[in-house]
């Protein structure tokens, strides 16, 4: 019955399989990955902005409209003006043509659209966003860039606060629920998941109704009391008071679905063999949870968070309007109301950049938490 095996099992038969040179350190991997991701995202932004330019210009049709507009205006002007009235028809036509030409040249319309779309793209990417038509910044500038830069910090402040709260609250509640899977609390939270179908501003309206209108505990909107307190501490307190409702609205709009989703991830990952192994190794419950459940689950959690954030950016436009929060979303809303095209385009470009930066940051974190992330697909196998 005993079988003979080839002698000398230590042939290291597998050693040749590993192709990845060990010289490649984690830092270098991260750097390379980040650069490539950055490149890819930049291309995505360029394509997105260019598409927006094409759409906003209706593929060049807007130029036709503007040309017609110029011709019409010039014709009106020439016809209405008594100084041209005496001139013969032909001379008048000549004058009109030259005026149209000058006007088109002034606006750059004499160049073909594809060329001008490239100029637009260049201007957008270098944040040379032009002048607004109606809106001014609080400091009085009409540079779109200044207007936007003034509105950016409140938006980021609100967004980051809400996202950080959502992320950590979601993570810990989901982990706690996965621990007591099937309990009453667990079932209750799962039942709450559909509440995330309503957008954050929807909750915002109700929160304002209850806490501002009915109870009068918190302000209706804006970022700081008017007039703003002089004292720095008082100022900060005032901002925090104003922050509570919008942040609650964003968190409410996303939290329960997030919890539901992540709780499911935790449940799936806690039935992995290595978790069982960790248990067999006699590790403590906390150690198992941290190293064997939380750590391996982080990559999918970050992905799902990333996808959620895109929706949140959208919702923030309306939310800021509901809370009259002096951010980008409200600016966009105002600009649309006033047909202020340069501002609209400027805000959209900024949003494209913001989204790209968010994606990049999360990708970067992803690469840190998951060593399997590699560029070029060498060695690593998706497990």
């Amino acid at each position: 019955m005993p079988q003979e095996y080839p002698p000398q099992e230590e042939l290291q038969e597998e050693a040749t399989e590993e192709r990845t040179p060990k010289g490649e350190s984690d830092l270098w991997r991260l750097l390379r990955y980040s650069l490539l991701r950055l490149g890819a995202l930049f291309i995505a932004v360029v394509v997105g902005v260019y598409l927006m330019i094409l759409i906003a210009n209706m593929g060049g049709y807007v130029d036709e409209i503007r040309r017609a507009e110029i011709a019409f205006n010039v014709a009106q002007q020439v016809r209405g003006s008594p100084e041209f009235a005496e001139l013969p028809e032909e001379r008048r036509r000549e004058i009109m043509d030259s005026m149209v030409e000058t006007e088109e040249k002034r606006l750059g319309l004499h160049e073909p659209f594809y060329l001008r779309s490239i100029y637009y793209l260049r201007d957008a990417l270098t944040l040379d966003l032009g002048r607004s038509e109606n809106l001014t910044s609080d400091a009085g500038s009409r540079q779109v860039r200044h207007i936007i830069l003034e509105r950016l910090p409140p938006t980021l402040f609100l967004f980051l606060t809400a996202q950080i709260i959502t992320f950590f609250a979601g993570l810990f509640i989901a982990l706690a629920l996965s621990r007591q899977y099937g309990s009453k609390l667990d079932k209750f939270m799962v039942a709450l998941a559909p509440t995330s179908a309503a957008p954050s501003w929807f909750y915002g309206i109700f929160l304002i109704l209850i806490f501002a209108a009915l109870l009068g505990w918190l302000p209706f909107g804006r970022m700081v009391a008017a007039p703003p307190p002089d004292d720095t501490l008082m100022y900060a307190m005032s901002v925090i008071r104003h922050l509570i409702l919008p942040v609650t609205a964003i968190v409410l709009g996303a939290l329960f679905l997030t919890i539901y989703q992540w709780r499911t991830y935790f449940l799936i990952y806690s039935s992995e063999d290595y978790v069982e192994m960790a248990r067999a190794k006699g590790l403590s419950g906390r150690q198992i949870e941290r190293r064997y459940i939380l750590r391996p689950t982080l990559p999918p959690i970050i992905t799902s968070f990333l996808l959620g954030i895109i929706t949140v950016w959208m919702g923030q436009i309306v939310l800021e309007t509901v809370f009259t929060w002096p951010g980008l979303g409200r600016l966009l809303f105002q600009a649309i109301g006033l047909y202020d095209t340069p501002v609209i385009i400027g805000v959209i470009v900024i949003f494209a950049f913001l989204l790209a930066i968010t994606v990049f940051l999360l990708d970067f974190i992803y690469a840190i938490v998951d060593p399997r992330v590699k560029v070029g697909g060498e060695g690593g196998q998706a497990a």
Binding site: M1, Y5, P6, E9, D273, L283, R291, R372
Partner: protein, 321 residues
Amino acid sequence: MNTQNDQFRVENLYLSFSTRRGTVQAVEDVTFTMNRGQTMVLVGESGCGKTSLGRAILRLLPRNVQDYRGKVFLNSQDIMKLSREKFRREIRWKKIAMVPQAAMNSLNPVIKVSEQVIEPLIKRGTGRERRKAMEKAREVFQLVGVPQDFLERYPFELSGGMRQRVILAMALITNPDLVILDEPTSALDLLTQANIMNVLKRIKQERGFTFILITHDIATSSELADLAGIMYAGQLVEFSRAYNLFREPFHPYSRKLMASVPSLQEKKELEYLPGQPPSLLEPPQTCRFLDRCPDSFERCEQEPPVIEVKEGHQVKCWLYK
């Protein structure tokens, strides 16, 4: 029952699960004794409770456990009496380690191999304790034949055979009194299987580790075995010195099982066993093997007792009463 200091003894171990369709009796009244340095092979068909027995010893139980009782003596201490926390701290991996069935997935994909291997040795991962643990890790890596620079790799950078060895190294790092190997080679190709078995053989000879090897590959495991147990439908139907059991099995099931193993030494007609084992869901109170047994008679309608046919050779069959 008193046991000597160097013994591992399982006494009347029961384990059952409650499921929606009823009680599943996975391990029923299992008793055996082994000495330090011995290797016991536990053979049986799929679903006969081998793995459950291994896990029951290490108290790795799912949530739906219904009945879990019996005695497990390790160095004359009944470890079944220990509290959960105490069992975790003192027994798991310190005294009893395990190489699980799915070794391929038993390494955490996002943590370096070294971290996972030294984990059982250290409480806090810094300073001298850590360096000593790393030293030990290098030593066991050497022992199981893994190049030492693999320590700094992630599990996905290792092949299946290497992962298996890493897990083996992890099981040996604390110098446990008992290592349960649950089909350590089942997911590997033949050559790698042979390699791993040879590693086990060498470790056993050089270091005198005590193994329980759960397998259904009788031919491969026979070289390693000092003791052998045959499991059928949750029960240990035969247990004895491996040499005796493989040469001269008593239980009809064991006989059929041995007859189905091909051998290089002799030419023989391979036999097979018709039918399938009874469901462990509410098993019958007769002999479990009744339906398939070629030698059954009336008494087999009752549960057979464990009979010692020879010195240290137990058979659970009416034929030898």
